[in-house]
């Protein structure tokens, strides 16, 4: 026995008796009770990372924890009094106590010590981390409501009653399509007394093309999709064909396994289609640095690292990025394994601002390509330009009256025809950027045919393609691309050993192998992570709250059996996302009221057990989409190049390069917000104000803030005032007779999809008398109700 133990045993004997009863008769479970304690306070120094390991002791494995440390051991199963661990965590000596004061971790509480003691007394059984264990099997009678109901019942609670029909149709319409139900749709649903009225509604919404837009946006968050390159220059890029591919795939209910494979490795499928190539744009959404003096290799490596991290976060729910610089402190991912994953993505042909593309025209991803006049080949354009330049300079030499002796340094001061002539006098290769621009503008004006090559309906979509000759992969010391660890030797692509259950390991050499492994039945993480995130969109929180971290530092699932059941159903349905949406939104758990439950609040203040639905503020895009759909202004066309709705002046005052923003005046002005041109360095202000991220990296979960800037936007942004005017005009069209009550009621129905109560109607009608209907529409857009899915 160590000296510390000897002194402490007498002291702690009393403590054991008083605390051991705290958890009642349950046996202690390692994953539920012990792992969070050790992970938080011990694993940093006594965990998987060899380099950080203190005293050669590791506590994350049973072998490590019970190893002989020279006559004693950290843990002696069934003998708490012989276990050094307990002596150390209860010590009051600064030099002995664990965690040590310099770690600045909190002490174990008496209750925690008692739990550790019971666990050791019961034999100190370890379990693999829950998320890495295979999916459980289930009974035929299982359902969402059975799992949720059983857990509620154990606390003496039950589900809330179903929400009223008006709330329900607004909720499910916003959740599945991101648009409001019309007053007519709402009334019809309320009148429909058939037993499957709700199921019919769900079927209609899932068949709507707007479903792909709504759920496509969730996916595009994870794909860190944006319309610009990022970093400081942040020039425009045309990745909308990838966005359109996502919308189409979701509307077609492409099975999630195929959806995965096409995006990660569509280019490596036998004879890939153009759509499968466009799908690989998923990993071309990485940033490109166009700043002068950059090292292209550095940003190629940055992009490849981002691809590893994004793949880990999106499919595995793991923070693999931690292992970029050192072996993961908490999860079983070594630094070497990180670079073995990196090896899959280290073969890309693309290198910062160069890389393979494929030409796509608008509508092509939906099978309805628009007709584009054939582009004039570049060589022909050059010939055309040379001929035009000769003709034009001959003409201008006669008419522009520019002294042939004018010195070069004076050229910048010239204007109009003289400036053009001056530029034409300079040899094409010697022209400055301004001179080139002036000549090109005049040429394109004279020869519109030459302009065809920059038709906005045609995009060179960036795709993935690997080098023909593989590039060697080395472990990068501390993640630094200038420090490959060549002594350790070249690394081959490989997957994290802790996640591999098959023996022997599958052959994994290419991105296609990796993608197939991610969706193989042996990998329990992909379906768990995917369904958890789907659940989060419907209830505001995942069954695993830390949806981005299924590792040991993440939270445990509130309903582990339900999560596994959903994951199994997902695979059983053939990875059908629409089937899973239907399963969730038709459950009583989803359909219950979101009103507060004072009776349940004491037992479950955070509503983890779901005795009610949640009220959720809608995302930035949906704030705008809801207003557009209420007003009738919405242009429902799907896909195509990104658009430029009104944007306040001064957005680019803070960016390095000003961007063009030619505000659309036609129907594109009223497209859904997911089509708004997105510059990473300076997004349209609506997005930042309502918590859309800037898509520098993958975003698996948005936060929901509630700020005065949101109030100012909804109250004063001319774009919303324009929509409020349109809502007022629509109301007058719908109710031609001069009946203020009826008109206010109509406006209320259009915006909030329900009937106003007497007080609400009175407040608004009085307000309308003092102001006008557009002012009423403005008030409605500013209510909490309007931007909340109830």
């Amino acid at each position: 026995m160590s000296p510390v133990l000897a002194r402490l045993n007498s002291f702690s004997a009393g403590l054991l008796l008083s605390c051991a009863t705290l958890r009642g008769a349950d046996t202690v479970e390692f994953n539920r009770d012990i792992r969070p304690l050790l992970s938080d306070r011990c694993f940093y120094c006594h965990g998987p990372d060899e380099k950080k390991r203190e005293a050669k002791l590791r506590l994350d494995t049973r072998d490590g924890a019970t190893a002989d440390l020279g006559g004693y051991a950290a843990i002696v199963p069934a003998s708490p009094e012989k276990s050094e661990l307990l002596a150390r965590v209860t010590s009051h000596d600064r030099d002995e106590v664990m965690p040590p004061p310099k770690a600045k971790k909190s002490r174990f509480t008496a209750e925690e010590v008692a739990t550790l003691r019971r666990w050791i007394a019961e034999g100190a059984r370890y379990e693999a981390h829950w998320a890495f264990l295979p999916l459980r099997d289930f009974n035929s009678g299982d359902s969402i409501d059975a799992f949720i109901g059983a857990r509620l019942a154990s606390d003496g609670l039950a589900l809330s009653p179903e929400a009223d029909r008006a709330t329900l149709i607004r909720r499910v319409s916003l959740d599945l399509t991101g648009l409001l139900s019309t007053p007519e749709e709402t009334a019809a649903f309320i009148r429909d007394h058939s037993p499957d009225a709700y199921e019919k509604l769900v079927a209609r919404l899932l068949a709507s093309p707007h479903y792909g837009e709504r759920w496509g946006r969730h996916w595009l968050d994870q794909a860190r999709y944006a319309d610009s390159n990022g970093y400081s220059i942040d020039a425009e890029r045309a990745m909308w064909p990838y966005r359109d591919w996502v919308i189409k795939a979701l509307n077609d209910d492409m099975p999630f396994d195929r959806f995965t494979i096409e995006q990660l490795a569509g280019d490596q499928l036998p004879t890939p289609t153009k759509a499968q190539l466009v799908a690989t744009g998923f990993h071309r959404n990485t940033l490109i640095n166009q700043e002068g003096g950059t090292d292209a290799e550095q940003f190629r490596v940055e992009a490849a690292i981002d691809r590893v991290n994004t793949t880990g976060a999106v499919w595995l729910g793991l923070t693999v990025g931690c292992a970029q610089c050192h072996t993961h402190k908490f999860d079983p991912i070594t630094q070497r394994e990180f670079y073995e994953l990196f090896a899959f993505f280290n073969q890309g042909e693309d290198k910062n601002n160069t890389g393979p593309t494929v030409q796509v025209v608008r509508g092509e991803m939906f099978g309805q390509p628009v007709k584009v006049a054939p582009a004039t080949p570049a060589a022909d354009v050059a010939k055309l330009q040379a001929a035009w330049e000769a003709k034009e300079s001959a003409k201008l030499e006669k008419t522009a009256k520019l002294d042939p002796q004018t010195p070069r340094e004076k050229f910048a001061e010239l204007k109009g025809a003289q400036a053009l002539l001056a530029a034409l006098r300079v040899l094409p290769v010697e022209r400055t950027a301004e001179e080139k621009k002036a000549v090109l503008a005049a040429f394109e004006k004279a020869e519109p045919k030459a302009r065809k090559k920059t038709d906005p309906n045609v995009a060179a979509a960036m795709i993935m393609r690997d080098l023909k000759t593989p590039r060697p992969t080395y472990l990068l010391t501390r993640g630094d691309f200038t420090r490959p660890d060549k002594e350790r030797g070249e690394l081959q692509p490989g997957i994290i050993a802790a996640l591999e259950t098959r023996n022997p390991k599958p052959d994994t050499r290419t991105r296609l192998d990796l993608a197939r492994w991610l969706v193989s039945p042996e990998n329990p993480l992909t379906p768990r992570v995917t369904l958890n995130r789907m659940w989060m969109r419907y209830f505001g929180r995942g069954l695993v709250e830390t949806e981005e971290d299924f590792g040991t530092q993440g939270t445990a699932p509130t309903h582990p059996e339900l999560l596994d059941w959903l994951a199994r159903e997902f695979i059983r349905s053939g990875w059908s996302m629409k089937a899973m949406h239907r399963l969730i939104v038709t459950s009583a758990t989803y359909r219950q009221s979101s009103n507060a439950r004072p009776d349940a609040a004491a037992k479950d203040p955070r509503n983890l057990l779901l005795a009610r639905q949640e009220r959720l503020r809608v995302e930035a895009e949906i704030v705008r989409d809801a207003a557009l759909s209420a007003s009738g202004l919405l242009d429902r066309r799907i896909g195509g190049p990104s658009v430029h709705p009104p944007q306040p002046e001064g957005v680019y005052a803070f960016t390095q390069n000003a961007k063009k923003w030619a505000t659309d005046t036609g129907p594109d002005r009223y497209r859904r917000a997911l089509y708004t041109m997105f510059y990473r360095s300076a997004p349209h202000p609506l997005f930042g104000t309502f918590d859309a991220p800037d898509f520098q990296t993958t975003c698996t979960r948005r936060i929901r803030s509630n700020t005065p800037l949101q109030a100012l936007t909804l109250a004063n942004d001319p774009a919303f005032l324009e929509i409020a005017q349109a809502l007022a005009a629509r109301v007058v069209r719908d109710i031609p007779r001069d009946d203020l009550d009826a008109r206010v009621r109509r406006a209320f129905q259009l915006a909030l999809c329900r009937e106003p109560d007497a007080d609400e109607l009175a407040a608004l009608t009085d307000y309308a008398r003092r102001h006008d209907l557009a002012a009423v529409a403005r008030v409605l857009f500013n209510t909490d109700n309007f931007i909340t899915r109830e």
Binding site: R107, Y231, N289, T546, E649, A653, S705, A715, D759, L764
Partner: protein, 481 residues
């Protein structure tokens, strides 16, 4: 407060912790409260007022910060770090031993050493070397603490600016100002707690990521006041409305929101009611703030402000007005210090221009804060994302490349030694020979002055605890008063 309100506030508090992902993460609340002084500091946020002022866990010298960010990387060799030896070796190749292991953005290896063309002298009791380019800085030589040995890790503008602001070179982490307001809240209930002002020919590279709240709640992100139009986006009520009419609007929205609160019992609606009232107050307080002609002619002259003209000088004066009104963190960006040589970026006339724009207002800010007693608990920070190389560039006009290993910054005010020179560089200005201050050390020190242990102001995100200083940072004790 009546019991019903008290109850609602409690419910709201729990709700806020959960909904906004602040603080708790996987920890239960009781666990959070049980943590001892060694434990992480996670601020207790009032849900209805996330910016409500909070007391930091440790004694604080500084209550607020004004950060003058010199975007582009000012040349320390033309301003503060006089190198006679460099002049002596002008036009000669640099000693190879000094180049080993260093990386540069544009230099190709054939560039020659360039001695400064500027005259230097020593000023103040401390004897700080200041060049003729910054004549107004002579007056503050004994008011500020000079850091001559600052170093960073990154040599491209965007990543280096992110590193200087967020402690990390890729976007996505909270800015210093976001950490500060997360920890301290703000003393203003009618202006944002973290304000960004900008001047110069273009915006700083990396844009909004520089004042992002990262994974912290967006309440803490920097609010850029705009150069054009209203200072705050959408501050102005629609044309044709009156203040009374707008009160009617806010009251009617409030009536409907209270009705919904009664119907649903959702405390989030209470937060929204408060947000709308704050928005209404901002409509009055922000325009009043911008009225620079309220200042005396003497003060305008001190800063060299011409009312109605947006400039770095006007922003310095606005910064003082903002902190007087309780704003916690004001960050000014001024471009363009990127003196590579070549059009618009030479070390001759272009450099003189940016020096003129910055010298007087920056010094005036320190003097003005001092005479008003504000310097006692306000920190002023001056510096860029890196410095510039002892070698010149092979361009048509004089210029220097980015240098990350040794450059100068200054800090003034609360808790730092005035008139103190910290750090030395070698005789050519390549590296730091004593008193090195790495970016993480600077962050640790500034947080210390604000009352935080930099290792303890943390936020759990994606399974790990994040902090401004990552896993680095040492307080620079030598400069503390």
């Amino acid at each position: 407060m009546n019991p019903a309100d008290q109850h609602l506030r409690e419910v709201t508090r729990r709700h806020f912790f959960e909904r906004c992902g602040v603080g708790v993460g996987s920890l239960a609340l009781h666990e959070l409260l049980a943590r001892d002084v060694h434990a992480a500091f996670k601020p207790q946020l009032d849900p209805t007022r996330p910016m409500h002022p909070r007391t930091p866990p440790l004694p604080a010298k500084a209550k607020r910060v004004i950060y003058l960010f010199m975007a582009g990387g000012p040349s320390q060799l033309e301003l503060f770090d006089d190198k006679p030896k460099l002049r002596e070796l002008d036009s000669q190749p640099p000693p190879p031993s000094l180049l080993a292991g260093r990386r540069f953005a544009f230099l190709k290896g054939t560039e020659k050493l360039v001695g400064s063309r500027r005259k230097f002298d020593r000023y103040g009791q401390c004897g700080m070397t200041i060049s003729e380019m910054f004549p107004n800085h002579r007056a503050i030589a004994d008011d500020v603490c000079w850091l001559r040995g600052v170093s960073t890790d990154v040599f491209n503008h965007g990543p280096a600016k992110l590193f200087m602001n967020t402690g990390f070179q890729a976007p996505g982490r909270p800015a210093f100002g976001a950490w500060a307001t997360y920890g301290l809240g703000s003393e203003s209930d009618s202006l944002p707690g973290f304000v960004v002002l900008q001047s110069g020919p273009r915006g700083p590279r990396a844009g909004a990521a520089l004042w992002s709240s990262g994974f912290l709640p967006t309440s803490f992100q920097g609010v850029p006041f705009r150069g054009k139009g209203d200072a705050i986006l959408h501050l102005r009520s629609p044309d044709g409305t009156t203040r009374e009419g707008e009160r009617d609007f806010y009251d009617t929205v409030g009536t409907l929101n209270r009705a919904r609160l009664a119907a649903t019992g959702d405390p989030e609606i209470l937060t929204r009611l408060n947000a709308y009232e704050m928005a209404y107050r901002m409509q009055t307080s922000a325009p009043e703030l911008m009225e620079l002609n309220q200042e005396s002619a003497e003060t305008l002259a001190l800063y060299d402000v011409k009312p109605g003209e947006s400039s770095f000088a006007a922003n310095c004066l606005l910064a003082r007005r903002l902190i007087e009104r309780g704003v916690r963190f004001v960050q000014l960006y001024h471009t363009n210090w990127d003196s590579h040589g070549g059009p618009g970026e030479n070390l001759n006339a272009d450099f003189e221009k940016v020096c003129r724009e910055v010298d007087r207002p920056a010094a005036a800010l320190v003097l003005d804060l001092k005479r008003r007693g504000l310097l006692e608990d306000t920190l002023v920070v001056w510096g860029g994302e890196f410095g510039r190389t002892p070698m010149g560039e092979n361009r048509t006009t004089l210029g220097r490349d980015h240098h990350i290993d040794a450059f100068t910054m200054w800090i003034a005010g609360a808790g730092v030694k005035p008139g103190f020179i910290h750090g030395e560089t070698d005789e050519l200005g390549f590296g730091v020979t004593a008193g090195k201050v790495h970016v993480h050390d600077l962050h640790a020190t500034l947080l210390h002055l604000l009352g935080f242990d930099h290792e303890q102001l943390i936020h759990r995100f994606q399974g790990r605890d994040f902090r401004l200083t990552d896993v680095h940072g040492k307080i620079v004790r030598e400069i503390l008063a």
